[in-house]
Protein backbone atom coordinates (compact mmCIF):
# COMPACT_ATOMS: atom_id res chain seq x y z
CA UNK A 1 0.00 0.00 0.00
CA UNK A 2 2.75 2.38 0.87
CA UNK A 3 4.51 1.94 -2.42
CA UNK A 4 1.40 2.77 -4.40
CA UNK A 5 0.03 5.62 -2.35
CA UNK A 6 1.92 8.49 -0.96
CA UNK A 7 0.40 11.54 0.67
CA UNK A 8 1.91 13.80 -1.99
CA UNK A 9 0.58 11.66 -4.81
CA UNK A 10 -2.84 11.34 -3.23
CA UNK A 11 -3.13 15.05 -2.58
CA UNK A 12 -2.01 15.79 -6.14
CA UNK A 13 -4.68 13.42 -7.44
CA UNK A 14 -7.20 15.01 -5.13
CA UNK A 15 -6.33 18.44 -6.45
CA UNK A 16 -6.49 17.23 -10.04
CA UNK A 17 -9.94 15.75 -9.51
CA UNK A 18 -11.04 18.92 -7.81
CA UNK A 19 -9.74 20.94 -10.75
CA UNK A 20 -11.68 18.71 -13.16
CA UNK A 21 -14.78 19.17 -11.02
CA UNK A 22 -14.45 22.95 -11.15
CA UNK A 23 -13.89 22.85 -14.91
CA UNK A 24 -16.96 20.68 -15.40
CA UNK A 25 -19.03 23.02 -13.28
CA UNK A 26 -17.77 26.07 -15.12
CA UNK A 27 -18.29 24.39 -18.47
CA UNK A 28 -21.79 23.34 -17.54
CA UNK A 29 -22.56 26.85 -16.34
CA UNK A 30 -21.38 28.38 -19.58
CA UNK A 31 -23.30 25.77 -21.57
CA UNK A 32 -20.16 25.09 -23.51
CA UNK A 33 -20.12 21.44 -22.50
CA UNK A 34 -22.59 18.76 -23.53
CA UNK A 35 -25.24 17.96 -20.95
CA UNK A 36 -24.00 14.39 -20.49
CA UNK A 37 -20.66 15.70 -19.26
CA UNK A 38 -22.23 17.42 -16.30
CA UNK A 39 -24.72 14.67 -15.50
CA UNK A 40 -22.19 11.85 -15.69
CA UNK A 41 -18.96 13.65 -14.96
CA UNK A 42 -20.23 15.55 -11.97
CA UNK A 43 -21.14 12.52 -9.81
CA UNK A 44 -17.91 10.78 -10.80
CA UNK A 45 -15.88 13.85 -10.01
CA UNK A 46 -17.69 14.33 -6.72
CA UNK A 47 -17.23 10.70 -5.71
CA UNK A 48 -13.58 10.76 -6.71
CA UNK A 49 -12.94 13.95 -4.81
CA UNK A 50 -14.59 12.52 -1.75
CA UNK A 51 -12.65 9.27 -2.07
CA UNK A 52 -9.28 10.92 -2.55
CA UNK A 53 -9.93 13.44 0.19
CA UNK A 54 -10.69 10.70 2.69
CA UNK A 55 -7.74 8.72 1.41
CA UNK A 56 -5.51 11.74 1.74
CA UNK A 57 -6.65 12.39 5.28
CA UNK A 58 -5.96 8.82 6.35
CA UNK A 59 -2.58 8.84 4.62
CA UNK A 60 -1.66 12.18 6.12
CA UNK A 61 -2.52 10.70 9.48
CA UNK A 62 -0.52 7.54 8.97
CA UNK A 63 2.42 9.47 7.55
CA UNK A 64 2.52 11.57 10.68
CA UNK A 65 4.77 9.08 12.31
CA UNK A 66 7.94 9.84 14.16
CA UNK A 67 10.70 10.30 11.65
CA UNK A 68 13.39 9.81 14.21
CA UNK A 69 13.86 6.14 13.54
CA UNK A 70 17.40 5.19 12.83
CA UNK A 71 18.63 4.63 9.30
CA UNK A 72 18.85 1.07 8.04
CA UNK A 73 22.04 -0.68 9.02
CA UNK A 74 22.61 1.39 12.12
CA UNK A 75 22.38 -0.16 15.53
CA UNK A 76 20.81 0.52 18.85
CA UNK A 77 22.22 -0.71 22.07
CA UNK A 78 21.60 -0.12 25.71
CA UNK A 79 24.26 1.88 27.40
CA UNK A 80 23.62 3.07 30.94
CA UNK A 81 26.33 5.68 30.66
CA UNK A 82 24.60 7.55 27.88
CA UNK A 83 21.79 9.90 28.85
CA UNK A 84 19.27 8.46 26.44
CA UNK A 85 20.72 5.03 26.14
CA UNK A 86 21.29 5.23 22.43
CA UNK A 87 24.10 4.99 20.01
CA UNK A 88 23.41 5.44 16.38
CA UNK A 89 26.61 5.03 14.47
CA UNK A 90 28.21 1.78 13.53
CA UNK A 91 31.63 3.15 14.42
CA UNK A 92 30.58 3.93 17.96
CA UNK A 93 28.93 0.63 18.48
CA UNK A 94 31.93 -1.43 19.52
CA UNK A 95 33.01 1.25 21.98
CA UNK A 96 29.53 1.38 23.42
CA UNK A 97 29.41 -2.37 23.81
CA UNK A 98 32.75 -2.21 25.57
CA UNK A 99 31.45 0.51 27.89
CA UNK A 100 28.34 -1.46 28.59
CA UNK A 101 30.29 -4.58 29.39
CA UNK A 102 32.63 -2.59 31.62
CA UNK A 103 29.75 -0.91 33.41
CA UNK A 104 27.62 -3.96 33.98
CA UNK A 105 30.13 -6.75 34.28
CA UNK A 106 29.79 -10.15 32.71
CA UNK A 107 27.27 -11.40 35.22
CA UNK A 108 24.86 -8.60 34.73
CA UNK A 109 25.12 -8.26 31.00
CA UNK A 110 22.00 -9.98 29.85
CA UNK A 111 21.23 -8.58 26.47
CA UNK A 112 22.90 -6.85 23.63
CA UNK A 113 20.95 -5.75 20.68
CA UNK A 114 22.47 -5.38 17.27
CA UNK A 115 21.01 -5.36 13.83
CA UNK A 116 18.94 -8.53 13.37
CA UNK A 117 20.76 -9.36 10.15
CA UNK A 118 23.33 -11.97 11.16
CA UNK A 119 25.53 -11.01 8.22
CA UNK A 120 25.73 -7.42 9.40
CA UNK A 121 29.37 -6.30 9.82
CA UNK A 122 28.29 -4.36 12.89
CA UNK A 123 27.06 -7.51 14.50
CA UNK A 124 30.31 -9.29 13.64
CA UNK A 125 32.23 -6.40 15.15
CA UNK A 126 30.20 -6.46 18.33
CA UNK A 127 30.49 -10.23 18.53
CA UNK A 128 34.25 -10.01 18.19
CA UNK A 129 34.38 -7.39 20.90
CA UNK A 130 32.39 -9.51 23.31
CA UNK A 131 34.35 -12.66 22.51
CA UNK A 132 37.60 -10.85 23.19
CA UNK A 133 36.27 -10.10 26.65
CA UNK A 134 35.40 -13.72 27.24
CA UNK A 135 31.69 -13.28 26.81
CA UNK A 136 29.92 -15.81 24.69
CA UNK A 137 26.45 -15.91 23.31
CA UNK A 138 25.45 -18.17 26.18
CA UNK A 139 26.34 -15.47 28.67
CA UNK A 140 24.11 -12.94 27.09
CA UNK A 141 21.26 -15.24 26.27
CA UNK A 142 21.87 -15.06 22.57
CA UNK A 143 21.42 -12.29 20.12
CA UNK A 144 18.06 -10.68 20.30
CA UNK A 145 16.34 -11.16 16.97
CA UNK A 146 14.38 -7.96 16.93
CA UNK A 147 15.36 -5.70 19.73
CA UNK A 148 13.19 -7.54 22.21
CA UNK A 149 15.24 -6.18 25.07
CA UNK A 150 15.20 -2.63 23.84
CA UNK A 151 13.91 -0.24 26.45
CA UNK A 152 13.86 3.43 27.29
CA UNK A 153 15.10 4.52 30.71
CA UNK A 154 12.48 5.96 33.03
CA UNK A 155 11.71 9.64 32.74
CA UNK A 156 11.42 9.88 36.50
CA UNK A 157 15.15 9.95 37.14
CA UNK A 158 15.96 12.81 39.46
CA UNK A 159 12.29 13.59 40.13
CA UNK A 160 10.93 14.96 43.33
CA UNK A 161 9.51 12.64 46.01
CA UNK A 162 5.88 11.57 45.89
CA UNK A 163 4.23 14.57 47.63
CA UNK A 164 5.98 17.01 45.29
CA UNK A 165 5.11 14.84 42.31
CA UNK A 166 1.45 14.76 43.31
CA UNK A 167 1.47 18.53 43.82
CA UNK A 168 2.76 18.90 40.27
CA UNK A 169 -0.03 16.61 39.07
CA UNK A 170 -2.62 18.78 40.80
CA UNK A 171 -1.25 22.03 39.38
CA UNK A 172 -1.06 20.48 35.94
CA UNK A 173 -4.65 19.27 36.10
CA UNK A 174 -5.87 22.68 37.23
CA UNK A 175 -4.02 24.42 34.41
CA UNK A 176 -5.50 21.98 31.91
CA UNK A 177 -9.01 22.64 33.19
CA UNK A 178 -8.46 26.39 32.93
CA UNK A 179 -7.09 25.94 29.43
CA UNK A 180 -10.21 23.98 28.48
CA UNK A 181 -12.36 26.78 29.83
CA UNK A 182 -10.61 29.38 27.68
CA UNK A 183 -10.63 27.16 24.62
CA UNK A 184 -14.36 26.53 24.98
CA UNK A 185 -14.90 30.27 25.29
CA UNK A 186 -12.80 30.96 22.19
CA UNK A 187 -14.36 28.23 20.07
CA UNK A 188 -17.85 29.25 21.19
CA UNK A 189 -17.04 32.80 20.22
CA UNK A 190 -15.96 31.86 16.73
CA UNK A 191 -18.58 29.28 15.92
CA UNK A 192 -21.63 30.39 17.91
CA UNK A 193 -21.57 33.93 19.25
CA UNK A 194 -19.92 35.69 16.35
CA UNK A 195 -22.09 34.12 13.61
CA UNK A 196 -25.27 34.88 15.58
CA UNK A 197 -24.33 38.50 16.11
CA UNK A 198 -23.48 38.81 12.46
CA UNK A 199 -26.87 37.67 11.26
CA UNK A 200 -29.20 40.28 9.83
CA UNK A 201 -31.77 40.18 12.64
CA UNK A 202 -29.21 41.68 14.99
CA UNK A 203 -28.26 44.37 12.55
CA UNK A 204 -31.75 45.86 12.52
CA UNK A 205 -31.62 46.79 8.89
CA UNK A 206 -28.30 48.51 9.03
CA UNK A 207 -26.41 48.33 5.78
CA UNK A 208 -23.07 48.28 7.56
CA UNK A 209 -22.13 45.31 9.70
CA UNK A 210 -22.26 46.44 13.29
CA UNK A 211 -19.93 45.10 15.94
CA UNK A 212 -22.65 44.97 18.54
CA UNK A 213 -25.68 44.55 16.32
CA UNK A 214 -28.73 46.55 17.33
CA UNK A 215 -28.28 46.44 21.07
CA UNK A 216 -27.93 50.10 22.04
CA UNK A 217 -26.83 49.20 25.53
CA UNK A 218 -23.97 47.20 24.16
CA UNK A 219 -22.79 49.97 21.86
CA UNK A 220 -20.32 52.35 23.31
Amino acid sequence: MQSIYSPARASAASLLIFFILVMVLLGSEAQSAPASLSTIGLPIALASTLYFSVRWISLARSSHQPQRSLPAGSTVSFDPAAPRGWTTSAQDHAAKVENTVAALGNDELIAVYVHPDSSSPVRAQASQELTSRGITSDDIGGWMPSAERLFVPSALQGSSPLPAYLATVRIRTTLMELARFFLIAGVANFFVVYPILRTSIFRCGSTRPSRFGCFPLLSR
Partner: protein, 266 residues
Amino acid sequence: MIVLALTFGTMVLTGLRFWTGPDGWIFLGAGYALLFAASIISRGKRARILLLRPFGKATMSAALERVARRYIGPFGSVFTLSDRNFRPSLTLDLLKLFGQMRHFVAPLLRPSLRVASVWNDASYRGLASTLANNAILDFKSVYSGGQAFNVASANNWWKNCIDLLLHSTDIIVMDISRVQDGSAWEIVRLFRRDALDRTIFIAHVDHPEHAQQALEKHLPAGASPPILLYDQTGQFMQADQFEQAIDEALSKALSRTEPGESPAIR
Protein backbone atom coordinates in the same frame (compact mmCIF):
# COMPACT_ATOMS: atom_id res chain seq x y z
CA MET B 1 -19.88 20.12 33.44
CA ILE B 2 -18.26 22.65 35.72
CA VAL B 3 -16.25 24.05 32.83
CA LEU B 4 -19.34 24.27 30.64
CA ALA B 5 -21.32 25.95 33.40
CA LEU B 6 -18.51 28.43 33.98
CA THR B 7 -18.31 29.17 30.27
CA PHE B 8 -22.02 29.68 29.90
CA GLY B 9 -22.22 31.78 33.05
CA THR B 10 -19.39 34.01 31.94
CA MET B 11 -20.96 34.47 28.54
CA VAL B 12 -24.26 35.52 30.07
CA LEU B 13 -22.65 37.79 32.64
CA THR B 14 -20.59 39.66 30.12
CA GLY B 15 -23.68 40.05 27.99
CA LEU B 16 -21.67 39.06 24.95
CA ARG B 17 -20.06 42.46 25.18
CA PHE B 18 -16.47 41.48 24.89
CA TRP B 19 -17.11 38.26 23.12
CA THR B 20 -17.52 39.32 19.58
CA GLY B 21 -15.33 38.79 16.57
CA PRO B 22 -11.59 38.56 16.82
CA ASP B 23 -11.65 38.81 20.61
CA GLY B 24 -11.99 35.05 20.48
CA TRP B 25 -8.32 34.83 19.65
CA ILE B 26 -7.55 36.19 23.11
CA PHE B 27 -9.34 33.25 24.69
CA LEU B 28 -7.79 30.73 22.34
CA GLY B 29 -4.35 32.24 22.96
CA ALA B 30 -4.87 32.16 26.70
CA GLY B 31 -6.03 28.56 26.46
CA TYR B 32 -2.92 27.53 24.60
CA ALA B 33 -0.66 29.48 26.93
CA LEU B 34 -2.13 27.51 29.81
CA LEU B 35 -1.70 24.26 27.91
CA PHE B 36 1.99 25.07 27.39
CA ALA B 37 2.33 25.97 31.05
CA ALA B 38 0.72 22.67 32.02
CA SER B 39 3.04 20.74 29.72
CA ILE B 40 6.26 22.29 31.00
CA ILE B 41 5.45 22.24 34.67
CA SER B 42 6.53 18.62 35.04
CA ARG B 43 9.83 19.36 33.21
CA GLY B 44 9.60 16.14 31.24
CA LYS B 45 9.71 14.05 34.40
CA ARG B 46 6.40 12.27 34.16
CA ALA B 47 5.71 8.64 34.73
CA ARG B 48 4.99 6.42 31.78
CA ILE B 49 1.98 4.20 32.31
CA LEU B 50 1.11 1.15 30.24
CA LEU B 51 -2.57 0.32 29.88
CA LEU B 52 -3.15 -3.31 28.95
CA ARG B 53 -6.72 -4.05 27.98
CA PRO B 54 -8.96 -6.52 26.20
CA PHE B 55 -9.56 -5.88 22.54
CA GLY B 56 -12.70 -5.81 20.51
CA LYS B 57 -15.56 -4.80 22.78
CA ALA B 58 -16.73 -1.25 22.11
CA THR B 59 -18.74 -0.66 25.29
CA MET B 60 -15.91 -1.87 27.47
CA SER B 61 -13.40 0.31 25.63
CA ALA B 62 -15.64 3.35 26.06
CA ALA B 63 -15.74 2.85 29.83
CA LEU B 64 -12.02 2.26 29.91
CA GLU B 65 -11.38 5.45 27.96
CA ARG B 66 -13.14 7.32 30.75
CA VAL B 67 -11.11 5.50 33.35
CA ALA B 68 -7.89 6.33 31.51
CA ARG B 69 -8.82 9.99 31.20
CA ARG B 70 -10.12 10.46 34.72
CA TYR B 71 -7.96 8.26 36.93
CA ILE B 72 -4.79 7.33 35.08
CA GLY B 73 -4.02 10.18 32.67
CA PRO B 74 -3.32 12.84 35.31
CA PHE B 75 -0.47 10.78 36.76
CA GLY B 76 1.55 10.20 33.64
CA SER B 77 1.64 9.54 29.93
CA VAL B 78 -0.53 6.53 29.22
CA PHE B 79 0.17 4.11 26.36
CA THR B 80 -1.99 1.37 25.00
CA LEU B 81 -2.10 -0.69 21.84
CA SER B 82 -4.57 0.45 19.24
CA ASP B 83 -7.58 -1.46 18.02
CA ARG B 84 -10.80 -0.50 16.29
CA ASN B 85 -12.21 0.88 19.53
CA PHE B 86 -9.14 2.76 20.60
CA ARG B 87 -7.80 4.76 17.70
CA PRO B 88 -7.38 8.33 16.51
CA SER B 89 -10.56 10.40 16.54
CA LEU B 90 -12.50 10.46 13.28
CA THR B 91 -14.02 13.78 14.32
CA LEU B 92 -10.57 15.29 14.57
CA ASP B 93 -9.76 13.96 11.11
CA LEU B 94 -12.85 15.61 9.71
CA LEU B 95 -11.94 18.85 11.45
CA LYS B 96 -8.76 18.89 9.39
CA LEU B 97 -10.99 20.13 6.61
CA PHE B 98 -11.35 23.34 8.61
CA GLY B 99 -7.64 23.87 8.87
CA GLN B 100 -5.78 24.72 12.02
CA MET B 101 -8.93 25.33 14.04
CA ARG B 102 -8.85 21.62 14.93
CA HIS B 103 -5.93 22.28 17.26
CA PHE B 104 -8.22 24.43 19.40
CA VAL B 105 -10.97 21.85 19.43
CA ALA B 106 -8.76 18.81 20.08
CA PRO B 107 -8.15 19.51 23.79
CA LEU B 108 -11.92 19.65 24.21
CA LEU B 109 -12.54 16.36 22.41
CA ARG B 110 -9.76 14.60 24.33
CA PRO B 111 -8.85 12.24 21.51
CA SER B 112 -6.49 9.31 21.72
CA LEU B 113 -3.43 10.31 19.70
CA ARG B 114 -1.43 7.78 17.75
CA VAL B 115 2.19 8.11 18.75
CA ALA B 116 3.63 5.26 16.72
CA SER B 117 2.82 2.57 14.21
CA VAL B 118 4.99 -0.50 14.35
CA TRP B 119 5.24 -2.83 11.40
CA ASN B 120 8.97 -3.47 11.04
CA ASP B 121 12.28 -3.14 12.80
CA ALA B 122 12.78 0.52 11.99
CA SER B 123 9.33 1.59 13.12
CA TYR B 124 9.84 -0.46 16.29
CA ARG B 125 12.90 1.59 17.10
CA GLY B 126 10.81 4.62 16.18
CA LEU B 127 8.48 3.69 19.03
CA ALA B 128 11.45 3.61 21.41
CA SER B 129 12.54 7.04 20.16
CA THR B 130 9.04 8.36 20.70
CA LEU B 131 9.00 7.08 24.27
CA ALA B 132 12.28 8.85 24.96
CA ASN B 133 10.89 12.21 23.84
CA ASN B 134 9.44 13.29 27.15
CA ALA B 135 8.82 16.94 26.34
CA ILE B 136 6.85 16.13 23.20
CA LEU B 137 4.85 13.49 25.05
CA ASP B 138 4.08 15.97 27.80
CA PHE B 139 2.60 18.43 25.38
CA LYS B 140 0.71 15.78 23.46
CA SER B 141 -0.70 14.59 26.75
CA VAL B 142 -2.17 17.98 27.63
CA TYR B 143 -3.25 18.45 24.01
CA SER B 144 -5.29 15.26 24.23
CA GLY B 145 -6.64 16.10 27.68
CA GLY B 146 -4.75 13.28 29.37
CA GLN B 147 -6.22 10.59 27.15
CA ALA B 148 -4.13 7.46 26.53
CA PHE B 149 -1.87 7.43 23.49
CA ASN B 150 -2.40 4.55 21.13
CA VAL B 151 0.26 2.52 19.38
CA ALA B 152 -0.70 0.67 16.24
CA SER B 153 1.16 -2.52 15.53
CA ALA B 154 1.21 -5.27 12.96
CA ASN B 155 0.09 -8.70 14.18
CA ASN B 156 3.61 -10.06 14.33
CA TRP B 157 4.92 -7.06 16.25
CA TRP B 158 2.44 -6.50 19.05
CA LYS B 159 4.24 -8.78 21.50
CA ASN B 160 7.49 -6.92 20.90
CA CYS B 161 5.67 -3.64 21.48
CA ILE B 162 4.27 -4.92 24.78
CA ASP B 163 7.73 -6.11 25.78
CA LEU B 164 9.27 -2.75 25.04
CA LEU B 165 6.49 -0.93 26.87
CA LEU B 166 6.76 -3.29 29.84
CA HIS B 167 10.39 -2.36 30.26
CA SER B 168 9.94 1.30 29.54
CA THR B 169 6.96 2.20 31.70
CA ASP B 170 6.88 2.89 35.41
CA ILE B 171 3.36 1.69 36.17
CA ILE B 172 1.18 -0.89 34.45
CA VAL B 173 -2.60 -0.90 34.64
CA MET B 174 -4.19 -4.05 33.27
CA ASP B 175 -7.88 -4.53 32.55
CA ILE B 176 -8.73 -8.20 32.92
CA SER B 177 -12.46 -7.99 32.31
CA ARG B 178 -12.18 -10.30 29.32
CA VAL B 179 -9.07 -12.42 29.24
CA GLN B 180 -8.44 -14.19 25.97
CA ASP B 181 -5.23 -15.48 24.43
CA GLY B 182 -3.57 -12.07 24.13
CA SER B 183 -4.38 -10.95 27.65
CA ALA B 184 -3.36 -14.36 29.01
CA TRP B 185 0.04 -13.98 27.35
CA GLU B 186 0.34 -10.52 28.89
CA ILE B 187 -0.44 -11.76 32.40
CA VAL B 188 2.17 -14.49 32.12
CA ARG B 189 4.61 -11.95 30.72
CA LEU B 190 4.00 -9.62 33.66
CA PHE B 191 4.82 -12.46 36.03
CA ARG B 192 7.93 -13.59 34.15
CA ARG B 193 9.25 -10.04 33.90
CA ASP B 194 8.71 -9.44 37.61
CA ALA B 195 6.38 -6.61 36.79
CA LEU B 196 3.52 -7.67 39.05
CA ASP B 197 4.66 -5.37 41.85
CA ARG B 198 4.08 -2.33 39.66
CA THR B 199 0.87 -3.60 38.10
CA ILE B 200 -2.65 -2.57 39.09
CA PHE B 201 -5.35 -4.98 37.96
CA ILE B 202 -8.74 -3.53 37.15
CA ALA B 203 -11.95 -5.02 35.75
CA HIS B 204 -15.41 -4.00 34.67
CA VAL B 205 -17.94 -4.35 37.44
CA ASP B 206 -19.87 -6.92 35.39
CA HIS B 207 -16.95 -9.35 35.18
CA PRO B 208 -15.31 -9.70 38.60
CA GLU B 209 -15.53 -13.51 38.65
CA HIS B 210 -14.01 -13.89 35.21
CA ALA B 211 -11.19 -11.56 36.19
CA GLN B 212 -10.50 -13.45 39.40
CA GLN B 213 -10.53 -16.79 37.59
CA ALA B 214 -8.15 -15.48 34.94
CA LEU B 215 -5.63 -14.43 37.55
CA GLU B 216 -5.93 -17.73 39.37
CA LYS B 217 -5.48 -19.61 36.12
CA HIS B 218 -2.45 -17.74 34.80
CA LEU B 219 -0.59 -16.80 37.96
CA PRO B 220 0.94 -19.24 40.43
CA ALA B 221 -0.95 -19.93 43.63
CA GLY B 222 -0.42 -17.24 46.20
CA ALA B 223 0.25 -14.51 43.69
CA SER B 224 -3.23 -13.09 43.62
CA PRO B 225 -3.19 -9.31 43.50
CA PRO B 226 -6.36 -7.31 44.26
CA ILE B 227 -8.71 -6.36 41.43
CA LEU B 228 -10.32 -2.94 41.44
CA LEU B 229 -13.70 -2.62 39.74
CA TYR B 230 -15.04 0.21 37.60
CA ASP B 231 -18.51 0.75 36.18
CA GLN B 232 -19.75 1.71 32.73
CA THR B 233 -19.44 5.43 33.51
CA GLY B 234 -15.76 4.99 34.22
CA GLN B 235 -16.09 5.41 37.98
CA PHE B 236 -14.23 3.11 40.34
CA MET B 237 -16.28 1.34 42.94
CA GLN B 238 -13.37 1.88 45.32
CA ALA B 239 -11.88 5.11 43.99
CA ASP B 240 -9.82 5.71 47.11
CA GLN B 241 -8.28 2.26 46.78
CA PHE B 242 -7.30 2.94 43.20
CA GLU B 243 -5.75 6.27 44.15
CA GLN B 244 -3.88 4.55 46.94
CA ALA B 245 -2.65 1.89 44.51
CA ILE B 246 -1.46 4.56 42.08
CA ASP B 247 0.28 6.43 44.91
CA GLU B 248 2.05 3.26 45.97
CA ALA B 249 3.09 2.41 42.42
CA LEU B 250 4.35 5.96 41.90
CA SER B 251 6.22 5.85 45.15
CA LYS B 252 7.95 2.63 44.10
CA ALA B 253 8.74 4.06 40.67
CA LEU B 254 10.25 7.19 42.16
CA SER B 255 12.37 5.22 44.59
CA ARG B 256 13.52 2.88 41.78
CA THR B 257 14.87 5.71 39.72
CA GLU B 258 17.31 7.48 41.91
CA PRO B 259 19.89 9.37 39.83
CA GLY B 260 22.42 6.99 38.35
CA GLU B 261 20.28 3.94 38.82
CA SER B 262 18.84 2.20 35.82
CA PRO B 263 15.57 0.31 35.84
CA ALA B 264 16.06 -3.40 36.13
CA ILE B 265 15.80 -5.49 33.01
CA ARG B 266 15.70 -9.20 33.17
